[in-house]
């Protein structure tokens, strides 16, 4: 039975090469663009090193607050990152999670040097020791700074492979000295390059924030704003509601104390899951899930509908050739539903081949053109948005591609197939549609 479908498809290619090719190109183009759109979202959500725990992480990135007597959540706000004390009060004290880390939200561009080398401008991120527990970096040599290193403000630094090679020409540099902000640090570990798509973990050098006075750099009344974000690692996703509830209790208690200073923290649905963070990266609003779904559905619908209309008319053209054959089959007792099914399956084979071509083009484009597609808004660092193979070759991507092929095929072949299977037998045998 299956042979018959493949034979028909090959026959199509021979009889109507141009129209069949145009159908394949149309489907491939549509699947290509749809999968690029899907990938652009996936890189923000799917896990990859060093953010392999994305499914278990909640982000407490920001805070927004206003005067206690201002009841409008959208006017006269102060928004931004948290100060260290605020982050500790709201997040570190949580009991449900496996680990909580406080770290500098975005890396600073800093000048570093080593003995005998010129100054190098690099991205520097200041973190605590729990950071290394939550984010899984790939250490090429050495290890991260520990809790005791952090508590005693040991001047240790973890550097990326590229920086190690630029400064020393090798990755076996544990124990070597570098100067960061005119202070001497010792290298304790070297890690693989990190893509700046890993927004929370990305940097080129990491140092303990206890070795600088970044925690004193606060503003807003009373010292709520600063340069820190929090990341929470749960034992499992199921703990998220419990963690959020625990956070809300702390937040309410904190707000009660702030009332005395005429300040009110606004609930912007922090801490956020990876998905919520991806649809609302800003500090001055809540994640709007319904808006995201509506916009996504609209874009996907357009990307499917326009090629479906094209393919529909082309399918009708191709079916014209087979009217006589359909007529004879119907005359010998073949049901309309069988004809319908056959036409849809034959088109599905064509769509799948075309979809495969589209997906392949998408993966190649995403891998080699990642700078063009994935460069993020409002990111001011020196990293590159490289996509890891674990994201590109994710089975979800392939499943989605097949699903869209199927939907596109259904949308484009149902009407012509219906019409073809409902033509009067005598007209079909005579090669007339009507």
């Amino acid at each position: 039975m299956k042979n018959q479908y493949f034979k028909r498809v090959c026959h199509n290619l021979q009889q109507d090469p141009v129209v069949t090719l145009v159908s394949i190109l149309g489907t491939a183009l549509s699947i290509f663009l749809i999968m690029i759109v899907v990938l652009m979202k996936e890189v923000q959500i799917l896990p990859f090193s060093p953010e392999s725990n994305r499914n278990r992480i909640l982000h407490g990135d920001c805070i927004s607050y206003t005067n206690a007597n201002n009841h409008d959540d959208h006017q006269n706000l102060s928004c931004g990152m948290l100060s260290e004390t605020t982050a500790k009060k709201l997040y570190t004290s949580l009991k449900t999670p496996e680990a909580v880390s406080i770290f500098q939200s975005s890396p600073d561009q800093t000048l570093i040097s080593s003995y005998g080398t010129a100054l190098l401008s690099v991205d520097l991120k200041q973190t605590d020791d729990s950071f290394w527990h939550i984010f899984d970096f790939n250490f090429l040599s050495g290890k991260a700074y520990s809790k005791s290193d952090f508590n005693s403000a040991q001047k240790k630094a973890v550097i990326s492979e590229q920086i190690a090679r630029q400064l020393f020409g090798s990755i076996n540099v544990v124990g070597r000295k570098i100067t960061i902000n005119h202070s001497p640090y010792h290298i304790c570990g070297v890690v693989c390059e990190v893509s700046n798509l890993a927004e929370s973990a990305y940097s080129q050098i990491w140092i303990p924030y206890s070795t600088t006075d970044i925690a004193d750099d606060t503003w807003g009344a009373p010292e709520l704003s600063g340069s820190f974000s929090a990341a929470i690692l749960a034992y499992s996703k199921k703990d998220f509601p419990k963690i959020k509830a625990e956070f809300n209790t702390r937040s309410t208690a904190f707000n009660a104390k702030l009332k005395a200073e005429n300040i009110r923290i606004i609930d912007q649905e922090n801490p956020r899951t990876q998905f919520e963070k991806s649809i609302c990266p800003y500090s001055n609003g809540k994640p709007e899930r319904s808006k995201f779904y509506r916009q996504g559905a609209f874009i996907l619908f357009i990307l499917l509908l326009i090629p479906a209309i094209n393919l529909s008319s082309m399918t009708q053209s191709r079916l014209h050739r087979y009217m006589t054959e359909i007529g004879i089959r119907r005359a010998f007792g073949c049901h309309r539903s069988q004809i319908l099914k056959d036409i849809i399956i034959e088109n599905l084979i064509l769509s799948t081949v075309a979809g495969f071509v589209g997906l392949l083009l998408c993966l190649l484009f995403a891998y080699f053109g990642s700078d063009f597609i994935f460069t993020k808004n409002w990111i001011e660092d020196m990293g590159r948005p490289t996509v890891s193979l674990s994201v590109l070759l994710n089975p979800i991507l392939f499943l989605l591609a097949f699903l869209f092929c199927f939907v596109l095929n259904l949308m484009s072949s149902i009407i012509p197939a219906w019409q073809a299977s409902h033509v009067q037998i005598i007209n079909a045998i005579n090669g007339k549609i009507h």
């Binding site: 109507d16 141009v18 129209v19 145009v22 159908s23 190109l25 149309g26 183009l29 663009l33 600073d108 561009q109 800093t110 000048l111 010129a118 100054l119 401008s121 403000a153 001047k155 902000n181 005119h182 202070s183 070795t211 600088t212 006075d213 004193d216 750099d217 606060t218 503003w219 357009i302 990307l303 509908l305 326009i306 090629p307 209309i309 094209n310 529909s312 008319s313 082309m314 009708q316 053209s317 014209h320 063009f372 460069t375 993020k376 808004n377 409002w378 990111i379 001011e380 549609i433 009507h434």
Partner: protein, 409 residues
Amino acid sequence: MNEWHSNTWLVVELLLVSVLLWFVVDYIYFNIATYVRPMGFDITHCYNIQCSKLAPSSPDYIPADTSYYKSLKRITEKLRQRPDIEAACLSRQAYPYSSGGRWSPLSYDTLTTKGVRFCSIEPDFFKVFRCRGTNGETPEELAQILEKDPNGFLMSANNFKESGIKASSLVGKKFHFYNDSTTKHRLLALYEPIRACEFSIDPYSRSLMSRIDDHHFKSHNFTILSISVRVKPKHDIDFINRLSNEAQRSIRVGNLYISSIRSFSSERAYVLQAYKNELRNYFAGAGFLLLNIFLGLFGTFWFRTQQRRSEIALLKVIGATNRDIFGRQLSEGLLLLTIASIPAIIIDWNLAHAQLNLWLNDPNTLEPNRFIASTFITYLLMALTIFLGELLPAYKAMKLPPAETLHNE
């Protein structure tokens, strides 16, 4: 009969794509029209310099030094004295393409306007960024005006537009900032609006410039202050590396040192990335729509040429020239486009009223020139795509051997 069906599909597709393409073209038109407007400043040969504080654990740390504002002023002065620097100024979140900022209401008597960007600057700011006054004042003259009256301020000429008052009539009057009605400041002069970035529209480009002094910030929060310099053109070679290396030895004051030097073209690239990404998406959308039309027309008319072989052969036999055949094929597609365009333009008109894309000049006003341009460009793009899609099938029809075809039929 079959062609009626096929034509209906085509008209529906052309209508749908026309409307979507119109929306994309209108968005791109708006962005290009905004991009080409004057910026109000010049950032060539300009650099942005950030200072940091030594950590207490650093061997060079001076515990007694806490006057960071004075140190920053001294560093700015040291930079100003360098032979390769034309002008230097310290400012708070005021430089072009700055992503942070403060906004304040501005009030005179009973007149108030909101959303004015509040910039604290040294007078040399105008010299660094070559801003000009609305009465033809040079950057040097604007700097002098602010130098003479430190308590006064300057503002961009596009403030108070919504009140219908000419900003020039307010020069010399006394205003107050924020909600502090006790301290009054005299408006000294107006300058050409400084736009936030190339894609920013007028209402977001209103600002005022006030003299910076040390009570504007807390002593440990100096990271929101930055030093902007204009380098003399002939000295602008490898400036960042040169200054980075020299600064470590010669430009350190107290606990402060220069920690980052960025060119303004980098600052600009950082701010524009978001808009570029959005435009990239819209261009990809337009390309997708037009490619679909191309493929659709190509496939349909290729098939039709095959179906109509006998008709075309007959026309040739009775005297139609090759050009006639070619022309007939092409005009069919254009006729379908014109039919689809009539309802499309009506839908576009309604979309324009809904103002889903931002306005260019005044809010909630339909801009007829923009509507005509967007509609015309959309029609032109679609017509061109249809022409290209039909080219090969029409050529094939033209080359049909009439006698052979009729014989075979």
